[in-house]
C-alpha cells in the first residue's frame, strides 16, 4: 500500500515486553484519512499493544511509526495524544467523579483548544448530542450512565479536539447488539463524514465487516 497519502504508517515495528516473548514482529501497516480500519487477531496477538504503540502510550523500540510523515518518537507524546489522536479505551477510562459534559470539556482543556469556557461547553453539549446524549444526560455524573452511554461519552471525548485519527479498543466488547450497531454507526460516520482515520481493534467479525479495511495480526513464531 502506498504511504504517500497515509496519515499513519507503521514500518517494521517489533515489540516485546521481555526478550523471550516477542509480541509484534516487523509489522508494516498504513492508514489513510477518511477510512475505517479494523485490526483483528487472536487473544495475545498484540492488538492492544499495537494500539498502545500507535497512541504513544508505549514507546516504539524497533521500527517506526510515522504520523503525517513524522516519527512519533520524535514528537511530544502527550501533545500527540491530546491533539492528533483520540483514543476510545476498552474500559472507557472516564473520570467518574465528573459529569459527561465535564469529561469532554476537560479533554478540550488539556488539548489547549483556542475556545473560551462558554464555547467549550457549547461544543461539548453539541458533541454529546451528536453521540446520542441529551443535555440532561450530559449533566449527569458518568457513574450514573449505562455502559453504552459511557461508551458514547468516551467517543465524544476522543473527538472533542478534532483529531485526525480515532482509535477504539474493542468499543463494542461490553455492549449488546443494538448498541453495538449504534456505536459502529458513530465510528464509521467519523470517517465518512468528518474524514477521520478510524482504527478499531476488535476480535468481532461483525465489527470488522463494517470497516473498509481489515488487518489481521498474527502472533510471531516462537
Amino acid at each position: 500500500m502506498s504511504s504517500t497519502q497515509s496519515i499513519l504508517s507503521i514500518e517494521k515495528v517489533s515489540f516485546a515486553y521481555d526478550k523471550h516473548k516477542m509480541i509484534l514482529k516487523e509489522i508494516d501497516l498504513s492508514f489513510e484519512k477518511g477510512k475505517t480500519y479494523s485490526v483483528m487477531g487472536r487473544s495475545g496477538a498484540g492488538k492492544t499493544t499495537l494500539l498502545s504503540l500507535i497512541s504513544g502510550l508505549e514507546t516504539v523500540r524497533e521500527g517506526k511509526i510515522l504520523y503525517n510523515g513524522q516519527n512519533i518518537s520524535a514528537i511530544d507524546r502527550e501533545t500527540y495524544r491530546s491533539r492528533n489522536i483520540g483514543v476510545v479505551f476498552q474500559n472507557f477510562n472516564l473520570l467518574f467523579h465528573l459529569t459527561a459534559l465535564e469529561n469532554v470539556v476537560l479533554s478540550m482543556d488539556i488539548s489547549d483548544l483556542p475556545l473560551n469556557a462558554k464555547q467549550k461547553k457549547e461544543k461539548a453539549y453539541a458533541l454529546l448530542e451528536k453521540v446520542g446524549l441529551d443535555k440532561e444526560k450530559a449533566d449527569r455524573r458518568v457513574l450514573k450512565l449505562s455502559g453504552g452511554e459511557q461508551q458514547r461519552v468516551a467517543i465524544a471525548r476522543a473527538v472533542s479536539y478534532d483529531p485526525d485519527i480515532v482509535i477504539a479498543d474493542e468499543p463494542t466488547g461490553n455492549l449488546d447488539q443494538s448498541t453495538e450497531k449504534e456505536i459502529m454507526d458513530l465510528l464509521t460516520s467519523l470517517a465518512a463524514k468528518e474524514n477521520k482515520c478510524v482504527i478499531i481493534v476488535t476480535h468481532s467479525p461483525s465489527v470488522a465487516d463494517r470497516t473498509d479495511i481489515t488487518y489481521e495480526i498474527a502472533s510471531p513464531p516462537l
Binding site: 491530546s82 483514543v87 476537560l106 482543556d109 488539556i110
Partner: protein, 497 residues
C-alpha cells in the same frame, strides 16, 4: 486556568480528606505562630536588656592558680594561701588609672578601704566570737565593686571611700538609704563620714557627732571624722544569720580622708564598666600587657545578667526546639497524608495522562490543591496563634521562673541557707551570686528575673510563618510530584482492567 479550576473542584469533591489535611496544617501553623512569636519577643527583650545592662569587671586574685602554685611547692617549703596572697602586690591607683584608660572601658570607679579600730566606738560583733570573720576578704555584702581577694588589715571597723557617687551601688539601688543627715559630696575634702543606723544606735551617735579612729596597733595616731549622715541597710532582713552581715561596721568617708588616713596601706578595688560583654578577654589581655600581675584575673557580673535572662533564654530555647519538633512531626504527617491521597487517585492520574495531560501540569494541579488548602489553614492557624501567643508565652515564662526559683530555694535549703541569704561571705556583684565550691551552684535568691513577655504577632513573625507554611507544603507536595512522575498511565489502566 483550568488547572486551578480543577484543583478547586477536587478540593470540594474530597471534603473529608482535605479537612484532615487542613486540620494538620492549622495545628502546625498555630503552634509555629506561638513559638515564633515567643522567640521574636524573647530575642528582642534579651537584646534590649543586654544593650542596657552595665557589664562590670573587677580585678581579683586567681585563687585556683595560687592553689596550683601552692600544691606545686614541695611539702617542706609550702606556704599557706594567706602567705602567698600576701606576697602578691595589689594594683595601686596609678595602675588602676592605667588599666581604666582603655578602648574597652567606658568608665571605672574605685574604692579605697582600710581596717581601723576606735577607742570610743563599740563595733557590732557576731553572736559566736569563734565564727567571727577575722579578716574580711574585701568582698561581700556592702563591698560593691568587688574586691581583690586579699586580706585587709585587721580592725574592728572598715573605713571605705568611693571614687564617685556612681560607685555607691548600694545607695543607687536603694539597699542603703540615708535616714538622717545627708551623704557628703563627691569632692568633699573635709573629714566627714556616714555610718549605719545599727552602729549609730549601738553607740548612741547622731548626725554631727565625731568619731575617733586609729590604725590597729597604733593608738597614738588617731583621726577624727564627723558624722554627716546615718544610713539604713534595707536589704538585710531579720531572718539573716548574723555572722553573714558585716555592713554595720562600715564607715563611709570621702576619698581624700582615706588617702590621708591610710596612705599606701589602703586596699584599692576597682570596677571597670565595659562597653561590650565580649570585650572582657581583650581587656584582660591588655591589662596583662600593661603589667597586671599574672595571679590577677578579671571577673564580671555577667552571671547576674545570665541569671536575669535565664528564664527568658530557656523559654526561647524551648520554643525553638518545640518549633522544630512540630515542623518535623507535622511535616511527616502531611507527607504521609499527601502520599495516601495521591495513591488513592492513581486511576485519575492514569486517565489524565492517557488523554494527554502533561506530567508537569498534573503535578501543578496537585500542588495547587495542597497550596489552596494550606493557605486557608494557615490563615486559620495564624489567627488562633495570634490570639493564644500572648497568654501562652506569659504562662510559660511564669512557669519557667517558678521552676528556677524552686530550684534555687531547694539548693539553698540543702545547704542550710535561709531564702534571700545569698549575700554576705558568698554574695556580691550586682544582684547576682559568685561562684563557690568549684562552681557547684550560685545562690541567687534575690535575682530579678524578667517576668513579662509580650509575644504579639508582628509582621516579621507572619512572614516567617508564611515561609514555614510554604516550605512544609512544598515538601509534602514533593511526594505527589515524585509519584506522578513515576506513574505510567498504561500500567495503571492495564492494572485496573
Amino acid at each position: 486556568m483550568y488547572i486551578f479550576k480543577n484543583a478547586l473542584k477536587n478540593i470540594t469533591r474530597s471534603k473529608g480528606r482535605n479537612i484532615l489535611i487542613g486540620a494538620v496544617i492549622v495545628i502546625i501553623s498555630a503552634t509555629s505562630c506561638i513559638a515564633l512569636a515567643i522567640r521574636s519577643s524573647a530575642g528582642e527583650i534579651v537584646s534590649s536588656y543586654e544593650d542596657s545592662f552595665e557589664i562590670t569587671a573587677s580585678l581579683s586574685v586567681d585563687r585556683e592558680a595560687l592553689r596550683d602554685l601552692m600544691m606545686s611547692q614541695s611539702e617542706g617549703s609550702r606556704g599557706s594561701m594567706r602567705d602567698l596572697m600576701a606576697e602578691i602586690e595589689s594594683p595601686g591607683m596609678a595602675e588602676i588609672e592605667k588599666y581604666g584608660d582603655s578602648e574597652y572601658v567606658d568608665h571605672y570607679t574605685c574604692t579605697l578601704s582600710i581596717g581601723m579600730d576606735s577607742s570610743g566606738l563599740e563595733p557590732l560583733t557576731n553572736d559566736d566570737p569563734e565564727n567571727a570573720d577575722q579578716t574580711e576578704s574585701g568582698a561581700g555584702q556592702g563591698m560593691p565593686g568587688g574586691g581583690s581577694g586579699l586580706p585587709i588589715e585587721r580592725g574592728d571597723f572598715t573605713v571605705i571611700a568611693y571614687s564617685s557617687l556612681q560607685a555607691m551601688d548600694r545607695f543607687i539601688s536603694g539597699d542603703n538609704t540615708i535616714t538622717s543627715g545627708s551623704m557628703f559630696g563627691e569632692n568633699e575634702t573635709q573629714p566627714v563620714c556616714v555610718i549605719s543606723d545599727e552602729l549609730a544606735a549601738y553607740n548612741d551617735l547622731t548626725v554631727g557627732d565625731t568619731i575617733l579612729l586609729n590604725k590597729p596597733g597604733d593608738e597614738e595616731n588617731s583621726y577624727t571624722l564627723a558624722i554627716a549622715g546615718i544610713y539604713k541597710d534595707t536589704s538585710v532582713d531579720d531572718s539573716a544569720m548574723n555572722w553573714f552581715s558585716n555592713s554595720a561596721n562600715q564607715i563611709i568617708t570621702a576619698f581624700p580622708a582615706v588617702q590621708e588616713i591610710a596612705g599606701t596601706d589602703a586596699q584599692i578595688s576597682a570596677t571597670f564598666y565595659l562597653n561590650n560583654i565580649n570585650d572582657l578577654q581583650s581587656l584582660e589581655t591588655e591589662m596583662k600587657n600593661k603589667g597586671l600581675n599574672e595571679y590577677y584575673i578579671l571577673t564580671t557580673n555577667d552571671s547576674a545578667l545570665e541569671q536575669t535572662l535565664r528564664p527568658l533564654e530557656n523559654l526561647n530555647d524551648f520554643a525553638g526546639i518545640f518549633l522544630l519538633i512540630v515542623l518535623i512531626i507535622g511535616g511527616a504527617i502531611l507527607m504521609i497524608l499527601t502520599m495516601i491521597n495521591t495513591r488513592e487517585r492513581k486511576y485519575e492520574i492514569g486517565v489524565l495522562r492517557a488523554i494527554g495531560m502533561k506530567k508537569g501540569k498534573l503535578a501543578a494541579q496537585f500542588v495547587a490543591e495542597l497550596l489552596i488548602v494550606s493557605f486557608i489553614s494557615l490563615l486559620i492557624g495564624a489567627s488562633v496563634g495570634a490570639l493564644a501567643s500572648v497568654p501562652t508565652a506569659q504562662a510559660l515564662l511564669q512557669n519557667e521562673i517558678e521552676s528556677i526559683q524552686n530550684e534555687q530555694s531547694s539548693i539553698e535549703e540543702n545547704f542550710g541557707m535561709a531564702p534571700g541569704a545569698g549575700g554576705g561571705r558568698f554574695g556580691g556583684g550586682q544582684g547576682g551570686g559568685r561562684e563557690i565550691m568549684g562552681g557547684m551552684f550560685e545562690p541567687n535568691a534575690n535575682v530579678d528575673h524578667i517576668s513579662r513577655i509580650n509575644a504579639v504577632i508582628k509582621f516579621r513573625v507572619m512572614l516567617q510563618l508564611l515561609l514555614i507554611g510554604l516550605g512544609v507544603t512544598l515538601c509534602a507536595t514533593m511526594v505527589s510530584v515524585v509519584l506522578i512522575s513515576r506513574y505510567e498511565p498504561l500500567r495503571i489502566l492495564s492494572g485496573r482492567s
